[in-house]
């Protein structure tokens, strides 16, 4: 395949940035999207140009590192991570536009690399069970009905890639935040801190500059792990019941 790539280049956080066009040829349809970018980068290096910086690591769809807005969609045309997207999803001669995630809370570091540490700070605010190492009961002393365990698991599959934010016209992080709140609200281990967790995580999410949710559902539609919109509904319920019964007046 021969392709034209329209890629966002930006030297650093303060640079204005802009699109640049590149041509790549002899691309195999079995290549992953990132391997196609590897080819481009080899080409650029050989010419003495700065290679395109993009985030990636495990290349098997689990670490959450890879990102990229491809032809206007986070992680491209399939509901998967970019590393699991293969060139067979594109046509010979096509022009592909590649941009970084766009969100105030995800500043661009260089080219296609963004800073997602805001997600860490949301987890920091309460996305855990406050248990220290040691002194816990036997694992089978906490039986959990399979249906509930499975549903909690569905929420726990979030890899924190940020596609939900990138897909949202409001750059909202509700799907990400709600996945963690849901997982722990459903499990017996998460009950003690349930209310406090919802309040704190949502406060942090707002403080980071993520937008509000207007129930469009683009987040869930683009989520490579298929995290359900139900989690946002559950988070709203959790938040509501937390505030009305809050002890922090």
């Amino acid at each position: 395949m021969n392709l034209t790539l329209k890629i966002w280049r930006q030297k650093n956080q303060s640079d204005k940035g802009g699109f640049k066009e590149y041509k790549v040829s002899d691309i195999s349809k079995d290549m992953s999207f990132l391997e196609m970018l590897d080819v481009l980068n080899e080409q650029l290096s050989d010419k003495g140009e700065d290679p395109v910086h993009f985030d990636h690591d495990c290349r098997e769809g689990i670490c959450g590192m890879c990102s990229l807005h491809i032809n206007g969609k986070p992680h491209g045309p399939l509901q998967t991570t970019t590393c699991q997207l293969h060139m067979r999803s594109f046509n010979d001669g096509e022009t592909i536009t590649i941009e970084p995630w766009r969100a105030t809370a995800f500043p661009v570091m260089k080219d296609l690399v963004v800073d997602r540490s805001s997600f860490d700070r949301i987890i920091q605010a309460g996305g855990y069970v406050s248990v220290n190492t040691g002194g816990v009961p036997d694992a089978n002393e906490i039986p959990i009905p399979k249906r509930i365990a499975d549903e909690a698991f569905d929420a726990a599959t979030c890899i924190g890639c940020g596609a939900c934010v990138a897909a949202c016209k409001n750059a909202s992080a509700m799907l990400f935040t709600s996945a963690k709140i849901s997982q722990l609200a459903m499990l017996p281990q998460g009950q003690v801190e349930r209310k406090e967790r919802a309040e704190k995580m949502i406060a942090q999410m707002d403080a980071e500059g993520f937008g509000a949710c207007t129930n469009t559902g683009a987040c869930s539609a683009e989520c490579p792990k298929g995290i359900s919109l139900t989690n946002i509904a559950r988070m709203n319920r959790e938040y509501f019941s937390a505030v009305v019964s809050s002890e922090n007046v």
Binding site: D30, E42, S45, G64, H86, Y128, T133, G134, Q189
Partner: protein, 633 residues
């Protein structure tokens, strides 16, 4: 010179006795001590969180943007624990024995026993954190079986056990960074180890965003920086996995043990083309239901469904009837390579074997199989475009896990005092071959349950460190800055990636699944030439701030040095054991032939001033179990 510090007494009592007698620090004094933890995978995150919970100051470093990205995330199949929830005869002792045997009697007995012993508490810990392990309809935890054992002791979380366990540890770490004493340094890469009077007292780290290099001091340093299987280029590891932290520590005097013991995972996806950057792993759990076979006739290119049952060779079931498709990884991988080398390989490049679910689907139904492995089948389809419900999967062995690593004693401390090495970065528990679902376990156990005790024991004998004199720190910072400047100055015409591919080819072909003296000697020359050309032809685009190519080049430089030691290690060990198979040393039916008289030791390498290596031997004493031939027939 090699003192493993194994506590006296019967094996069942050693760890209890150690904990009862190790030194403690009063809670009010703990905050005076600072510990640096490098790496935020399961071992690093759990160790950092646990130390902070105890009241120590912890400085955490990772080159990732977030601790949650560490490669523990990618482990699929599960984590072992001798809970015996299945009533199938499991026990700490059996798990201990399975692991020592799985490692081909080349691991340290006392360490392995302790790992099995601590496995019980680990499952409790993870569940308390909210890790969503698989459950039965009763609401109780579910288990499955893994390679090299005959009980079901593997706890799992669909095909993403590593991701879920790491979330637990990451969350514990994030909680401590909020309420406790953890300071996070993300996007920081360790460049060097700071040693004062023979003791590890800090690290030199580079801020990857700004390029700034700084010395960070501490009372102890923990390296939990993972494995180096990526040295083979094509591997199941993440693209950024590297050996730099442990190699830099090695160059400062930490001994390196068994560098050539690398496990090749039997069920990864085969290479499909030259452009390929990694080989995706398919969980070993698939071997519970999948049957591995190749056509009996070599060069048989018919599609799999046209090959009748009697013309198929289910070679693992044939050769190892009692373990069958669940034979341990080293044996399964080598058997696959043998079939491929003898012309029975299948797939477009004839470099794979079949993993067939037809019988399991007929037996249990498609729904049951989908429930068990749905996400793996889905992933397989996305990558290859093929449907494993309809045709057998193509799998092949690929570089996976480093059993070797920095040498540590029973306390997980290196020969350099104050340097602790955890998880895959050390060598201790897996011998010459790791059993499936033991790596998550080892990382967790090292981090949650062992290192907090042994580090406190060490710190109790130390006076809290003061910041070093500026002129001292300038020197080591300059050295490291110069090293990068030199790489930038070469301005040749080959990227680090291209060197990496070449290095990978040399190692795969000459120091991979099967090794032989003559080819190893050839590899030695080729590696030397490759290293020479690296310093003449390397091309790194200019720029000292965020520059991924510079990061790669520095890691590559370390890989090139490590590769030479790997080959040296493989040459020195004139026997076959576990993953280390020397063609000269095999039984008449092609199995690995150990040489216990001469090689019942761990090879421990010390680096000399001139860069050469000196071999020390840690003799392995088996007091509790009888060393026997490792058979899975």
């Amino acid at each position: 010179m090699i003192d493993s510090k194994i506590p006296p007494g019967p094996i069942q009592e050693k760890w209890t006795q150690y904990k009862a007698s190790c030194r403690l620090i009063n809670p009010a004094n703990r905050r005076k001590y600072r510990v640096i933890v490098v790496g935020t995978g399961l071992a690093g995150s759990s160790c950092a969180a646990s130390l902070s919970e105890l009241g120590f100051q912890v400085e955490v470093f990772t080159f990732h943007e977030s601790p949650r990205r560490a490669h523990s995330v990618a482990a699929q199949g599960g984590i072992n624990a001798a809970k015996d929830y299945k009533n199938d005869g499991d026990s700490i002792w059996r798990m201990f024995y399975d692991t020592v045997k799985g490692g081909d009697f080349r691991s340290r007995e006392a360490n392995v026993y302790r790992m099995a012993e601590c496995s019980l508490a680990l499952i409790d810990q993870a569940v308390a954190q909210g890790v969503p392990f698989a459950r039965e309809y009763s609401g109780y935890l579910s288990n499955r079986s893994f390679g090299g054992v005959q009980v079901s002791r593997t706890f799992y979380a669909r095909g993403q056990t590593g991701q879920q366990l790491l979330q637990g540890a990451y969350q514990a770490l994030m909680r401590q960074s909020q309420i406790g004493n953890v300071r996070l340094h993300t996007r920081h890469e360790m460049m060097d180890l700071w040693v004062e009077e023979g003791k590890a007292k800090g690290i030199v780290a580079r801020n990857l965003d700004t390029g700034e290099i700084k010395l960070h001091v501490a009372d102890a340093v923990v390296l939990a920086t993972g494995g180096y299987g990526k040295i083979y280029y094509l591997s199941t590891l993440a693209m950024n996995c590297n050996a730099s932290a442990i190699w830099r520590a090695h160059k400062q005097g930490a001994f390196f043990a068994a560098p050539s013991w690398t496990q090749f995972h039997p069920t990864s996806l085969p290479q499909m083309g030259d452009y390929q950057s990694k080989l995706t792993l398919m969980s070993e759990s698939l071997r519970n239901d999948g049957r591995i076979w190749v056509p009996i006739k070599s060069g048989d290119n018919r599609p799999p469904h046209e090959i009748p049952e009697e013309e198929r060779d289910y070679y693992l079931e044939r050769k190892y009837p009692s373990y069958g498709n669940l034979a341990p990884r080293d044996i399964s991988s080598r058997a696959a390579k043998e079939q491929i080398d003898n012309g029975h390989g299948v797939g477009p490049m004839n470099n794979a074997v079949y993993l067939d679910f037809k019988d399991a689907i007929n037996r249990d139904g498609k729904t049951a199989i989908e429930k068990r492995y749905g996400n793996l089948f889905y992933m397989y389809k996305k990558i290859t475009g093929m449907d494993a419900f309809k045709e057998p999967m193509l799998i092949s062995p690929s570089a996976h896990f480093s059993m070797g690593g920095l040498w540590v004693d029973y306390e997980l401390m290196s020969n350099l005092e104050g340097l602790f090495v955890l998880g895959e970065a050390n060598f201790a528990d897996h011998g010459a071959n790791r059993l499936g679902a033991n790596s998550l376990l080892q990382a967790c156990v090292d981090g949650y349950f062992i290192s907090p005790h042994t580090i406190m024991n060490y710190l109790a004998g130390e006076k809290p460190i003061e910041d070093p004199k500026p002129e001292l720190s300038h020197e080591i910072i300059d050295t490291n800055q110069k090293r990068l400047d030199n790489l930038l100055a070469i301005q040749g015409n080959k990227t680090a990636e291209e060197f990496h591919k070449e290095l990978g080819k040399i190692l795969y072909n000459k120091c991979g699944l099967i090794r032989e003296k003559q080819t190893l000697l050839k590899a030695k020359t080729e590696l030397k030439n490759l290293r020479d050309s690296f310093y003449k032809e390397l091309l790194v685009p200019k720029g000292s701030s965020l520059n991924f190519e510079l990061e790669k080049a520095a890691r590559m430089e370390d890989y090139l040095e490590l590769a030479q030691l790997i080959v040296e290690d493989a040459l020195q060990r004139e026997e076959s054991c576990g993953a280390h198979f020397r063609a000269e040393h095999q039984t008449p039916d092609g199995e690995a032939k150990r040489n216990d008289n001469e090689f019942q030791f761990v090879s421990v390498w010390e680096i000399l001033e001139n860069g050469n290596h000196n071999l020390h031997k840690e003799h392995l004493d088996f007091e509790s179990i009888k060393v026997s031939e490792r058979s899975y027939k």
